[in-house]
């Protein structure tokens, strides 16, 4: 606790300092750094929310049917199937993304083969495009999305579904009016978990992306670690945190949840 709150307050102070790494920083209550930083890196902020949001939605759409299938039709293979979905957790995060670089590379497994048999022109490439970055983010999100969805779907009382069927609900109605609303907590938790991770991620953009796919995480890391421009980096981190908090709050309101803690 000490190592979370105190540092957060510290970077607020650091953000308000001016100076450089050679002459040292002094606290000057430079509040204008927030609008300045936001102005300068607006593209990256928008891009982060765009990529993070897109990958979250895709992961949800891809994983919901799979989680549904495992929870409702998995039978005695349930745990094994869930284990298979969660297997990527056991591979080091950086290596997971790196694998995709090998798969998507111009002369890699997929594109190299397709080019050899002349299905694709030699100039075709995937790496460095937004699609590659979003694909990496989405892949990383799949197990994180699957787990809460599965837990929520698994907890649904099958009696409710049968009751709906007895009351002449068609399969579509049973899904839309019983299963989907009852699985909302899982959707809520999964989306929250994935969106926060992916909006702040910079590894996917760094390994799979190019100069035009830089996300805000890359900027914060660069400014902090490479340029040692502590005030700007701190300001950016705080803006990101604030934006996410506001987003979470609005999202919680929209989903009609009383407390986020219920689902985390």
């Amino acid at each position: 606790m000490l190592f979370f709150v105190v540092p957060l307050v510290t970077i607020l102070a650091v953000a308000l300092e001016t100076g450089d790494s050679v002459n040292g920083f002094t606290l000057t209550w430079n509040f204008s750094i927030f609008p300045d930083a936001l102005d300068q890196y607006q593209t990256q902020f928008v891009r982060s929310f765009l990529y993070g949001g897109a990958s979250t939605v895709i992961a949800l759409l891809v994983m919901y049917p799979v989680s549904y299938w495992i929870a409702f039709r998995g039978g005695r293979y349930k745990s094994i199937l869930l284990f298979l979905v969660l297997l990527p957790f056991f591979v080091s995060f950086v290596i997971r993304i790196l694998s995709w670089q090998f798969i998507l590379a111009d002369d890699g497994l997929v594109l190299g083969t397709l080019k050899d048999i002349h299905l694709l022109p030699d100039s075709f490439h995937v790496l460095s495009t937004p699609a590659a970055v979003i694909a990496g983010l989405t892949y990383d999100a799949l197990p994180f999305m699957a787990l809460p969805l599965y837990v929520a779907l698994e907890n649904i009382d099958r009696g409710h579904v049968e009751a709906a069927a007895d009351l002449y609900a068609s399969p579509t109605q049973r899904f839309l009016r019983v299963i989907l609303p009852l699985s909302a907590p899982g959707i809520y938790a999964g989306v929250l978990l994935v969106a926060i991770t992916n909006i702040g991620d910079y590894v996917s953009a760094a390994i799979l992306g190019g100069p035009n796919t830089t996300m805000i995480g890359n900027i914060i890391q660069q400014q902090y670690v490479e340029n040692q421009n502590y005030p700007v980096a701190s300001a950016l981190a705080l803006i990101l945190m604030l934006a996410l908090l506001v987003g979470m709050f609005l999202y919680a309101r929209a989903m009609g949840t009383r407390s986020i803690q219920q689902y985390v």
Binding site: M1, F3, F4, V6, P7, L8, T10, I11, V14, V62, P65, V66, Y68, I70, R73, S79, L81, F83, L84, L87, P88, F89, F90, V91, S92, F93, V94, I95, L98, S99, Q101, F102, I103, A105, D106, D107, G108, Y139, L142, S170, P171, I196, T197, I199, G200, Y202, V203, A206, I216, G217, I220, Q221, Y224, Y230, A237, L238, L240, L244, Q261, V264
Partner: protein, 285 residues
């Protein structure tokens, strides 16, 4: 009479009616789709294992496949920087797991057993720590260390890992403690056990599976952490940082071999943990 009449007019149950005209092949859409998605999630794992066997020229992996070799398994620890980085990762994971568990268990006990001022604040902070994006956590820790003029290195990485691991340990344990039957502890004390004995003879054995699960999670999170570590590492490299750093100059195949071995170890430990917990019927994951 009215009731009976209504029953005779009841249409056939729609469930049976709808299943009859349903075309057969549609039954396979959902399982087929799910199998494809699961296969897709396994592709990068396959690539990692496969490229550990790739005959790479000049000891750096190219994207192209050059033939099969077990050379990299035989020369696994040949790159001394990489080996050092792996040792750092293992050291930090072990230490941060031990410290975070030692600090997290009493914290979780306090949070679940006692109501005190600041309870809600403590809960919120722990959740915020888990929910906050890693870049923000990393950046704020770095700002903190820089302000205090702490030299960055193994010790700052360790502090950072302990910090995020405690939050996870507390959350996992709190969920377990919610199921703990408090009357068992009261019973032990009624029978003359002092609080210390009651803890070690009753509470601890009951929550041990939870502590084990929390410790395993902490270890896994620590050994895999990249983003937070990349802020507070200074000149020290852990395994994920070394791998990231070598992306631009070329990946030696040993990276994928180590990745494969870590993967296999993790899977075996997970399976063992599940089997152990199955034997104790009271405990669930």
């Amino acid at each position: 009479m009215v009731v009976a009449e209504r029953e005779t007019h009841q249409p056939p149950r729609p469930r049976a009616e709808q299943q009859a005209p349903r075309r057969r092949w549609t039954r396979f859409i959902l399982p087929g789709y799910s199998a494809l998605v699961i296969l897709y999630t396994l592709v990068p794992i396959g690539v990692m294992i496969l490229y550990g066997f790739n005959k790479a020229p000049a000891e750096r992996l190219t994207f192209a496949w050059n033939g099969f070799t077990t050379e990299w398994y035989r020369h696994l620890f040949e790159i001394s920087d990489l080996t050092t980085a792996l040792v750092h990762s293992l050291e930090i994971a072990t230490l941060s797991t031990l410290i975070a568990t030692a600090l997290g268990v009493p914290a979780a006990l306090a949070l679940s057993r006692y109501r005190f001022r600041g309870h809600g604040v403590a809960d919120t902070v722990i959740l915020a720590d888990i929910a906050a994006p890693s870049v923000v956590v990393g950046a704020s820790l770095l700002g903190f260390f820089v302000t205090l003029n702490v030299t960055l290195g193994l010790s700052t990485i360790l502090i950072a890992h302990v910090a995020f691991n405690i939050a996870f340990v507390v959350v996992v344990l709190q969920a377990r403690l919610a199921d703990l039957d408090e009357s068992l502890i009261d019973a032990a004390q009624d029978l003359g056990a002092n609080p210390w004995t009651a803890f070690w003879k009753v509470t601890f054995p009951l929550i041990f599976p939870g502590i084990l699960a929390a410790a395993l999670l902490a270890f896994a999170l620590s050994i895999d952490d990249f983003i937070i570590t990349s802020f507070v590492n200074g000149q020290t490299l852990t395994f994920p940082l070394w791998v990231y750093g070598s992306v631009k100059v070329g990946i030696p195949p040993q990276v994928f071999v180590m990745g494969t071995l870590i993967f296999i170890t993790g899977v075996l430990i997970a399976i063992a943990a599940v089997l152990v917990q199955r034997r104790a019927p009271a405990a669930t994951i």
